[in-house]
Amino acid sequence: MVSSGDVDFERVTVSDVSRFYGRRRALSRVNFDCASGEIVGLLGPNGAGKSTLLSVLATLAEPSTGKVRYGAWSARAGGAKLRAKIGFLAHDLQLYPELSARENLEFFAGLYGLDRCEARADAALASAGLEFRADEVVEGFSRGMRQRLALERAMIHAPRLMLFDEPFTGLDEASCTALVDRLRHLRGDGRIVIVATHDLDVVDGVLDREILLTGGKLQVLRQSGTLRERYRAAVAKRRGNEQRVKPLQKNVQDQDSEDENGASP
């Protein structure tokens, strides 16, 4: 195992994080924190900035402004030892389709500097229910099987912070239930779990806290009702605000252009 004894953390703190892609703002002054033993849901419509926020948390992208702290560590100071404590199941599964399930797991176990790679791969394959197809290339797997394999790949090094981007995609009901149990197990094990998902019914009752991102900004969900009701109310409220603001912005723009036209000879 990579020596990471001196880099561990109980809390992740996101302070005033913004992220720009050129002139487009993907995240706008996002603030939140989460502690070990907590499952935090990252909700929001498509393009809200969820994947960008997960990339920043995974240290794959640097914030344009603001800071992310992993306990006492920043991503830059923690470097490779900090990355050894982060697991990321992305929407794209980060597997090599030409390699077998076992080869994929052993390759990533090797990259993480783990000992007994074969035994760990066997355990991961059993956990994914893929022990009978361990030596088949991933190319022939269904989306659900790939998803289960990618989940094991992301967690093979027992990370402190586990990030999930749409983890329920392609999973059947039994696999969804197994994943929910896994999330609860991770919480009980003192991990920090952040899940970005649209499958609100599946995660309702599992999440300790929800964070809603819309247009790169954080929004608070009200407390009463089901997760889906709260989500819809928050998104509707946000859209209502935008509808109110847009005519005002247009008026200001019209006024500016009139002033410019009036000023020109």
């Binding site: 990339s55 030892k81 990321f88 992305a90 090599y96 390699l99 080869e103 390759f107 990533f108």
Partner: protein
């Protein structure tokens, strides 16, 4: 084994395993290189006699063009399913990933160059293997120089939409010295009176180029790959 080398070896092993299954890069690169040599052989060989000095140029052009094709594919594999981010998230020195990709490419290109060198020697009737070790050294150093720059550019362009067009545009201006040194050195070796002193000079210059660009590439890979 040193952890840096261990990671580089893991990446090489993975790339070789993937290539052994798909044979995609080997076959396309080899086919392209052989096509180039065959086309040139029709233009430069008349009545069984090759134009003097043409063989060295054709050998290096075949290496450069087919190498560009391989370089273009080198990071495509990592782009599919976003595997590159999986690599970058691993707690490893990122230059080790670069080194692994580079060594994998060098192994592939060395295989292609062996076939191409034999084919050029046969079609153009040049004594490439009169000083075989010298030619081996020249080609090895030239390929390292070409591929070390190309692997870095290929990694830089992996997230770019027009990467296939941009790669040669960026690569050739920087690697032109390698090709000139390679052609000049090879010509010195295969001419009627081999000029070993001149060949040694070109080999020294290639070694210098390799040292500079390999160091620069290892140094810049980490910032280049950080979003």
């Amino acid at each position: 084994m040193n952890r840096f080398l261990q990671v580089a070896w893991l990446v090489v092993w993975k790339d070789l395993r993937v290539e052994a299954r798909s044979k995609e890069m080997l076959f396309t690169t080899l086919f392209f290189a052989i096509s180039i040599v065959l086309v040139f052989s029709f233009g430069f060989v008349r009545a069984g006699q090759a134009v003097e000095g043409a063989a060295a140029g054709i050998l290096w052009i075949a290496m450069a063009f087919s190498g560009t094709l391989a370089l273009g594919r080198a990071f495509e594999r990592e782009r599919y399913h976003d595997a590159l981010r999986g690599l970058l998230l691993a707690p490893v020195d990122r230059p080790a990933i670069y080194l692994g990709k580079l060594v994998g490419l060098l192994l592939l290109l060395s295989l292609v160059e062996t076939v191409v060198a034999v084919l050029v020697a046969f079609l153009f009737g040049v004594p490439f293997f009169r000083h075989g070790w010298w030619l081996f050294l020249m080609l090895s150093l030239g390929t390292v120089g070409f591929a070390s720059v190309g692997t870095l550019f290929s990694a830089m362009l992996v997230r770019t939409r027009s990467r296939t067009v941009l790669l040669p545009v960026l690569l050739y201006p920087v690697t032109i010295p390698v090709l000139i040194m390679g052609v000049s050195g090879t010509t010195a070796l295969v001419q009627a009176e081999p000029d070993l002193a001149m060949a040694r000079l070109w080999i020294s210059l290639l070694f210098f180029f390799d040292t500079v660009f390999l160091t620069l590439a290892l140094w810049t890979f980490e910032p280049v790959m950080t979003e």
